[in-house]
Symmetry: C2
Amino acid sequence: MAALARDGGVALRPHAKTHKSPVIARKQLALGAVGICTAKIGEAEVMVANGIDNVLITTEPVPRNMDRFIALAAKARLSVTLDDADIAAELGRRAAARGIVITTFVDVNVGQERTGVDAGAKVVPLVETVCKTKGLRFAGLQGYEGHCQGIKDRDTRRARARECYDRLSETKRLIEDHGIAVATVTTAGTGTARFAIEHGVATEIQPGSYCVMDSSYAQVEPMFENALFILASVVSVQRGETLVIDAGWKAASTDAGVPAVKDQPDASYKEAGDEHGKISGLAGRHRAGDVVWLVPSHCDTTINLYDRYTLVRDDGSLEGELPIATRGKSA
Amino acid sequence: MAALARDGGVALRPHAKTHKSPVIARKQLALGAVGICTAKIGEAEVMVANGIDNVLITTEPVPRNMDRFIALAAKARLSVTLDDADIAAELGRRAAARGIVITTFVDVNVGQERTGVDAGAKVVPLVETVCKTKGLRFAGLQGYEGHCQGIKDRDTRRARARECYDRLSETKRLIEDHGIAVATVTTAGTGTARFAIEHGVATEIQPGSYCVMDSSYAQVEPMFENALFILASVVSVQRGETLVIDAGWKAASTDAGVPAVKDQPDASYKEAGDEHGKISGLAGRHRAGDVVWLVPSHCDTTINLYDRYTLVRDDGSLEGELPIATRGKSA
């Protein structure tokens, strides 16, 4: 991904909501990333405490947690995203009171229908408010096309993503027509990064999943390899051809479907509660205690279930452990 | 639940996989529980390290983690469940080598079709093996009727559960016919505890969810009150009537459906990714920063996402925090 961004002439700001590890973030920075994203202030606090100096928090602050944004902005290069004039006024007031200026992106809804001001003319007044607000500095636009990431057909995904980038281009033009420079346009994920680069409006991409991948993204973007697996044990062979393993909802997230069985396309996983899963279609004889490797369907939410990674070399040797330091920081 | 068990003349062994807190476990013991259950050895280790002396681990050991079972059994009153003769032989060998005897339940499949030897005559040979194995002591049967817990119609749930208890009765009789005493029969969850008591075969019940409840169990067993909530913030009001909140898959498990909105039967939650959710149907005007309380659909897996509880009195005052000490111990 670093090479893709470098060759495409855009900045890479990996989304650390996937890996949740300051160690991996530092490796991404060493490979040329300009900084990282986190989804929440709680993740950013841990990243800054672990030496990461440049963080964009991609979810809007609210009054309840705003003082934590201010405190962190006072000690690191923090950027925030806003879609609300009241929040902008309050954040600016608190930043100015502290004597700091917060780098601010205006969040644009490019079609995901989640956060963000609708793309187009409605964005301009908020940009003007940010520009006029003491304590804030307008840095550009964030327009995440999350609804495009999982579209399996490449051409459809590209076409849908380009619609979003066109909306960002148009919005940018409208802002510039008001004499305001849009220095940075940040967007894209693992499924669309190459299309954002190709289109040209983005100056920065913020993909996350590429660093470890999962079975869902593997169907969308085969450029990157799966590096994340769940090690499970067969705990019961009493159900005939169906093996019962010790990996259930507490071991593998299912929001994007069930995990796959590594290197066993004919085998399938079935949910069996918090603590168990069932595996069908594994050839051969099995005994209680046998090991089964799973490929998570969704890396971010599966990683969020664990306190640490176990690192294994391609030759199977144990390399060490890595804390999942921002795990559970959902606020 | 303590009163239900006491009045019904059965032992209560709450399943601590729900709350994951040694502090709550100690409160349950103080109210008369004979011990606790955990699903995995990792949870049991934390419970014992925090002063809980009597733990039944409801998932079978495997050779990979067996030495941890042995080490824990050497320092606490640990019970295990088995459904496999090879595992029984190996566990007995390692226990005997350490000079200890492990309290062993034979796990019976009463219809859940997960772990356990099929109820009936097939159980007897494994019981005989356990009885003959040095290092193991046969304590009785575990027969969890997990497939009955969520049946909404009370009469159907009762009838299905009674079928399971009848299977346990028949299995117990077959074992006793071989001159082997079955001291303890442990079964039941929050949805079936009263039916297990009424039937009579169970000497011990192992419900978990009753201590905090959730929106799924509330539809099954209205005797217990919801005590578990997720505090979320509105982060965007740009989508008209739909509020965007900061609670997504990392804040609320969805394996049993989406969370409910507390005290707002007309409001509904919709999934919007790892970090966000959407709320529809909330009356009134809303601003970014407003607070929304959610009721988890499934307590065990939602609690597993957090490192601590915040404790709030009925009057809204803050009582303190409680570590979720066995969080993430899925193995």
